[in-house]
Symmetry: C2
Subunit: 453 residues, 2 copies
């Protein structure tokens, strides 16, 4: 594999591109195939269509499969159109079944059936099975290419098996032991294998109690499990303890990235549109509905201020501190939201409990509120020479921050409990809600204090 540092990288890539343009088959293959598949994909993406078509001639379907696996779904769709049916069927045969299933999940059903017909029966069956599992489950991210052995096999048998199957398996570091019926019976590792004698039977040193996940387990739970135990893979089983696949650590990394993007998208009301490669129109189409919806909710704030128009008319300066009261409450609510989202993602919330978390957040919000309240009262008293206005703003901020932190924590937790779409609990929605409530607090405090003036 070629090691490419920043300097040599572009030079090397340029050489490959040149050989593709010049149609130098041997030179192209020599340079290109020495690259890591991830780098091959990168070079491939730089080519124009005419050169890409040349690549399909230069490389076998098996060689091209590794490039195809590295493409994004949208890129895969575009490229698949450039391949002839025979070439692509061969390529899908050689790809990992889970990657094929991911791609097929995005295609039209009848088109998928056509391709499956053209593929080898055995490979097609693997893909068909994976397509049955719901997105986001262990079944949907598992791979079918794992090594399974029998308890009665000897170390020598297994090493012979690895020589044959090793190159095709996604990982050979764990070897799963199944009984005649295909049920998961134990696990051993290649580490144990090489420290054992060649005629030793697997059953003598395998461990019979295996940590596994069910095929319907949520992918986030699988990721947490693998992370907790520092596994490189976890076996996936059905209701009847049948071993049907494994989830490997590189899939888990992708899941974690996906979930982090999702969390960020939720907190910023930009779910599904944080991808920088979208066009302005695509991005606006996905993001505008959230902003418009939030704007409608924002009418609530206009309602509240409209209700207190009289108070506002008597002291117009009250309007000057609307953004500050709202802003402080919104910021505190967002902090609480971040705590809740993180606690849900890392599983610490379950350890700690629902009520304890809410009480902790309320106390935190109130403490911050007291600090801010005192600071702003003194500041306005000193800065604007208006201690009374300062007191109105200070007291409102104190109460609002306590309330906002409860809103920020409670709503995502409730939504999580109800298994509803957590997008509703996104940062902007929480901020809008806390805007309305903090305005009501502000004007109520102001109205009642002004009456006593």
């Amino acid at each position: 594999m070629v090691k490419l540092n920043e300097e040599t990288r572009e030079e090397y890539f340029a050489k490959i591109m040149k050989s593709a343009v010049k149609e130098e088959l041997d030179e192209f293959r020599r340079l290109f195939l020495e690259l890591h598949p991830a780098d091959q994909t990168e070079v491939f993406l730089r080519l124009e269509e005419t050169e890409r078509r040349r690549v399909y001639e230069f490389l076998s379907p098996e060689e091209f499969a590794e490039i195809f696996e590295g493409l994004e779904i949208d890129e895969q769709k575009a490229i698949a159109f450039e391949l002839n049916d025979h070439y692509s069927a061969e390529m899908f045969n050689k790809m990992y079944a889970d990657d094929v299933a991911d791609f097929f999940g995005e295609l039209q059903q009848d088109h998928v059936q056509d391709i499956l017909q053209a593929m080898d029966n055995e490979d097609a069956d693997d893909v068909r099975e994976l397509l049955m599992y719901e997105e986001g489950t262990a079944g949907s991210i598992m791979t079918k290419e794992f090594v399974s052995v029998k308890a009665s096999d000897t170390v020598g048998d297994v090493i012979e098996l690895l020589r044959q199957e090793g190159p095709d398996a996604e990982t050979i570091y764990y070897l799963y032991v199944v009984d005649e019926a295909g049920k998961l019976a134990g696990v051993t590792s290649i580490r144990d294998l090489i420290t054992s004698m060649s005629d030793e039977k697997i059953e003598n040193f395998m461990s019979t109690r295996v940590v596994s996940v069910h095929v319907k387990t949520d992918q986030e739970e699988v990721a947490q499990l693998i992370q907790k135990y520092d596994f490189l893979a976890a076996p996936v089983i059905t209701d009847h303890n049948m071993l049907v696949g494994i989830v490997t650590v590189d899939d888990v990394i992708d899941v974690l990235e996906e979930e982090a993007t999702e969390d960020l998208g939720e907190i910023t009301a930009s779910r599904g549109s944080t991808d920088v490669t979208l066009t302005s129109f695509q991005a606006a189409k996905r993001r505008a509905p959230w902003i418009v919806l939030l704007m409608f909710f924002g009418l609530g704030t206009a309602e509240v201020i409209g209700t207190f128009e009289q108070t506002l008319e008597s002291v117009v300066l009250l309007a000057a501190f609307i953004p500050m009261v709202m802003g402080s409450a919104g910021n505190t609510g967002t902090q609480s939201l971040a705590v809740a989202v993180r606690a849900l993602a890392t599983g610490t919330l379950e350890k700690r409990g629902f009520w304890k978390t809410i009480v902790r957040e309320f106390s935190t919000g109130l403490l911050i509120g007291i600090i801010c309240g005192i600071v702003i009262t003194l500041l306005l008293g000193f800065f604007y020479g208006d201690l009374f206005l300062g007191f109105i703003v200070g007291l409102s901020i104190m109460i609002s921050l306590g309330v906002a932190s409860v809103i920020g924590t409670t709503i995502p937790l409730i939504i999580n409990k109800l298994n509803m779409d957590p997008a509703i609990a996104s940062g902007p929605f929480i901020t809008t809600l806390s805007d309305v409530i903090s305005l009501m607090i502000y004007f109520s405090v102001a109205t009642s204090l002004l009456q006593h003036m």
Copy 2:
């Protein structure tokens, strides 16, 4: 290893706790040691101090080392106090050097020196070396426990070596080949090893071009590299190509989690305080400074509104739409921020370029602004029967959204370019800035349109 599903788990844990309380040494060891270290840690954390002290007697320092590695830093600090000096020195000898260094990094310097003195020389040297690397670099997260071999070794030699060193190494799946000087010369895998003849020399099948990272490389870059190539580990080298350690995939998962938490903390101004296990006082202490600081920035909004007091006095109803204009701009800015943060984290930004991204975001913001502007103008014309007010609000929203999306994208990118602390670009800071600007736009539009009335 015991497989614990939800039902058997608590039961099994209860049995262990009972044996600890009853001081049944053999029963405790039998049940406890069959657990995965991650589960051992979980049980250990449930024990009271008297029982914990019993565990230190029941388990050898080596056995306890695995539990200690699983604790959070704060927990480690508390527990370390309960151990006698000899026991803890022995335990640190048996821990992975990177875990020891992580813990020592949090202790007082003179205390660290005392413990290092009490440790075995060789183990202490590994830790000393790791302590030298700056936090957040490859050096700080790498492990020293890797297997290195010589190019002239035969497969048989290496398998013999693995039998001896295997149990201590963090991973044996990649075998790094070094020359006499300790320079990285190649890599091979256990996969290649078992498919080769016993008398074959490593140099005949190793790959000589290894993807490696420099000891000072940022940990986020290391994570991206391992993710890109689906590696299980990456070798860490110095300026002179000396192999000094490896970064394993489980460390990378922790880095990714850490970075996701950091991103979320930045976007919500709650950096370093999203941990739900902090007390209210600790959380308030860390979070209040941000809120107070943002409140001071919020004085800017009060200034702007104060400046336009006259306009506001002539049409008090203008105040009612302050939150909506500010809110829509803030939400759009936050979306753009999410896009920028995600693009920086996943490295897609570099592929796409700085200006292209900003232009894309500006167009997106403007498009959303046009949609929102038309909707709100019509709505206020219809709902409030005030088309003129609707036009003021609509036009302001349109301009504000375009500007806010540029702010939301540009500021994090600039801060990233300047290598400054990105916390300044957090969501609330961007929102506060966009608040001030959108208010200025709103009141300027209102003032000039009212003049022409």
